[in-house]
């Protein structure tokens, strides 16, 4: 496992200045596990150390060998807390606990969010306000990670590679173990002519309903899509739940997309996987699920091929990170480049070409 020597995370303060939090590692040598340096603001130092230590409680892997030194280039005012998420992310990236997408090119990362319960991995924020502050500074390649306030996302509030999370597991699409709504996320490649190719996410939230019995498709909502696309999505999801056996008539469902304006049906496999993860009926990958595939018979669990496999493979190879699970249709297996699986494995991701969803 290769770990970066230093990591940077940025955050925009209320007065418009950009704060950079830099994290470095050095051997521990009997020192404290986290050291914070902010010139002239000892209270901010203390808060940052507390935040980082609390957030570390939610990690599976403990390592006592390194000390992480965090520093801020400018001091925020004492009442401001929007930088907390940036500190947590910088600490995780420098220890390899979180790998930002496209880690090889190291694009700037902007993070805005705070929390009253870092030890439960919860994150809060005001994504609309944060986006307004960020917009003048963003370039196309920047990664934006925002704390979620639970409000309906505004359409302009997330362009580019923005990601809103309500808990730290949401960075890899996992469900929140303490929330009453189970939300899982999966990623799918969008091909739009070379340079604009990007990974888009689909996010499925399920909530139990007491009385079933109605038509399954009326309980599924995708508020951002137009009616035709919504109908196709409902049919796909209802079909996959029919295949699952125990999915029908138990859930109220809301589906959201990172970027709702797209064409085609290659999102369906990602949608179905996110739905199965949200309903707690699928093995959980350590990283993200990146899937591409559609089907004309979801009620039989079949996965069929989709278009544009060369561009999508190149994009997936560029974006996949440690622990990610790549799911592709079985028909692509013959056309895969010879070293594709090996290259993915070298990045820590794993690949499966599937003709059927479900266990094995």
């Amino acid at each position: 496992m290769t770990m970066p020597n230093s990591a940077e995370c940025r955050s925009v303060l209320a007065d418009g200045r950009v704060l950079t939090i830099t994290a470095t590692r050095r051997p521990r040598a009997n020192r404290a596990d986290v050291k914070c340096v902010v010139a002239g603001a000892p209270s901010i130092c203390e808060r940052m150390q507390e935040v980082v230590r609390l957030a570390r409680h939610t990690e599976a892997r403990f390592d006592s060998r390194d000390q992480v030194v965090l520093s801020m280039d400018i001091a925020p005012t004492a009442v401001e807390r929007d930088w907390e998420l940036a500190a947590v992310l910088a600490d995780r990236i420098v220890r390899g606990a979180y790998q930002p997408p496209q880690a090889a090119e190291a694009p700037p990362i902007y993070a805005q969010g705070w929390s009253d319960a870092w030890h439960l991995a919860r994150v809060c924020g005001q994504p609309a306000l944060a986006m307004e502050r960020l917009r003048p500074r963003l370039t196309a390649s920047d990664i934006v990670i925002l704390g979620d306030d639970g409000a309906e996302p505004r359409d302009d509030a997330r362009d580019g590679s923005g990601l809103t999370v309500s808990h730290l597991g949401g960075l890899t699409g996992h469900t929140d173990p303490s929330a009453s709504v189970s939300t899982a996320r999966a990623w799918f490649p969008l091909h739009s002519g070379g340079v604009n190719d990007s990974l888009n996410w689909v996010d499925v939230s399920v909530y139990p309903i007491e009385t079933g019995g109605g038509e399954e498709e009326t309980t599924i909502a995708a508020p951002e899509l137009d009616p035709t696309a919504q109908l196709a999505l409902r049919q796909a999801l209802a079909g996959a739940r029919h295949f699952d056996g125990r999915g029908l008539g138990r859930w109220r469902t809301v589906v959201r997309f990172g970027q709702p304006r797209f064409q085609g049906t290659s999102y369906e496999l990602a949608l179905v996987m996110a739905d199965r993860l949200a309903r707690g009926r699928e093995f959980v990958p350590r990283g993200r699920v990146i899937a591409s595939g559609c089907s004309s018979a979801w009620h039989a669990g079949r996965v069929e091929t989709v278009e544009g496999h060369e561009a999508k493979l190149a994009l997936i190879l560029k974006q996949a990170g440690r622990g990610d699970r790549v799911l592709l249709p079985l028909a692509w297996q013959a056309d895969l480049p010879a070293d594709f699986a090996a290259a993915l494995r070298a990045r820590g991701a794993s690949l499966a070409c599937i003709g059927q969803i479900g266990i094995i």
Binding site: R31, S180, L277, G280, R281, R325, S350
Partner: protein, 378 residues
């Protein structure tokens, strides 16, 4: 002869053996049922096995009656996917002639109480499996391909044999949807969150409702020693004391490829584990800092928590041993790095357990240049 001794106690109920109970501590008057085996530990902790029959322990001996099974349990590999499980069928093998100490016997001696039930054992297996999957040492991704499943099975078998001394007979993924309903669990979560909020809203602030008796402050409540703390600490140290030598000998006999670098890292690992075992053997007691100088309850709680963390690292080390036993030479670098991490964590936790009090962290930038730092020592 013992022919005329009075029956002082009721015979232990052995009817559950093989169904809901795996092992049971038995005493003088008991008769082990047919099909079970007796594991007898002498006062020094050495185990021997005997065939079932009348139990006649010698001086200072502890006897367990063990049913070899097979047992069937349902595991949940991921806490986030409660409706999907693994059905595991395992048995406790007859003794393995290649080793001097059976791993299951060691498990019984160091971890089991008077009774080892299938449910408690299943919980231990489940937590070991979940932590391995979380850390990425075992892989069970969605839409598992057949070869990935075989790799997972091999890793799981080895883990359970190395950590618990059981042999996995069969393991299949099952749908637990009939017995566990995720929708109901979510609904229960809603209820709990609502009660929490209600509780917060109802709880009177201290200035609104002054109570006649001063409530203990938060610091005082934390400082009050819990009765379980002492037992938990003793149990952790017992596990470390008994299991570290066995773990070290397991690591020592690994068949590693020849080569100077591998040899050196292996040797270093052995040396550090030896020092750790020494540290455990000479661990100061929980409540004394020095003769005639007791430790505050707060620090005792902290010390006990640190020994519990050391035990977690010990579990990780057993899992690492299982991975090393299956490793191909290509993986060795990564595994030795992990071993370095685990051993460093053990050292760290034990050092904190030794310390009578932890001074709060101070900003060390001032003295750093002036004086060289003191390295951690035993």
């Amino acid at each position: 002869m013992g022919l005329f001794t009075r029956r002082r106690r009721q015979a232990t109920d052995t009817s559950g053996l093989g169904a809901s109970v795996i092992a049971l501590r038995v005493g003088d008057v008991d008769v082990a049922p047919v099909g079970t085996a007796l594991v007898i530990f002498n006062a020094a902790g050495y185990a021997r096995r005997a065939v079932a029959g009348r139990v006649a322990p010698g001086e200072g001996e502890t006897v367990y009656c063990v049913h070899p099974g097979p047992y069937s349990i349902d595991l949940i590999p991921f806490a986030a996917a409660p409706e999907l499980g693994l059905r595991l069928r395992f048995l406790i093998d007859a003794s393995d002639p290649r080793v001097t100490q059976q791993r299951f016997d060691l498990f019984l001696f160091s971890e089991a109480e008077a009774q080892l039930s299938v449910a408690a054992f299943g919980k231990a297996i489940e937590s070991a499996l979940q932590s391995e999957l979380n850390q990425g040492s075992l892989d069970l991704p969605p839409c598992t391909a057949l070869e990935e499943w075989h790799a997972f099975r091999a890793g799981l078998n080895q883990l359970l044999y190395t950590r618990f001394g059981i042999t996995v007979d069969d393991c299949v993924p099952v749908d637990l949807g009939d017995s566990r309903d995720f929708a109901q669990m979510l609904a229960a979560r809603v209820q709990r969150i609502a009660t929490d909020l209600q509780f917060k809203a109802d709880a009177p602030g201290p200035e609104i409702a002054p109570s006649p008796v001063a409530a203990p402050s938060r610091v005082a409540a934390r400082a009050a020693i819990r009765p379980a703390v002492r037992e938990a600490d003793a149990k952790s140290l017992r596990r470390l004391f008994l299991e570290l030598p066995a773990l070290t000998s397991g690591l020592r006999v690994l068949a590693l490829p020849a080569g100077q670098a591998t040899f050196q890292s292996h040797q270093q690992l052995m040396q550090r584990l030896g020092l750790i075992a020494l540290s455990v053997g000479t661990m100061p007691s929980l409540d004394w800092a020095a003769p005639d100088q007791s430790v505050s309850a707060l620090e005792q709680n902290r010390r006990s928590a640190d020994s519990a963390r050391a035990v977690l690292s010990l579990d990780e080390a057993w899992a690492l041993l299982a991975r090393l036993q299956l490793a191909v030479p290509m993986q060795l670098d990564e595994l030795f790095d992990d071993a370095d991490r685990i051993v460093a964590n053990l050292e760290h936790h034990l050092q904190r357990r030794r310390a009578a009090s932890l001074v709060p962290d101070v900003d060390d930038s001032a003295d750093e240049a002036a004086a060289p730092r003191k390295e951690p020592s035993l």
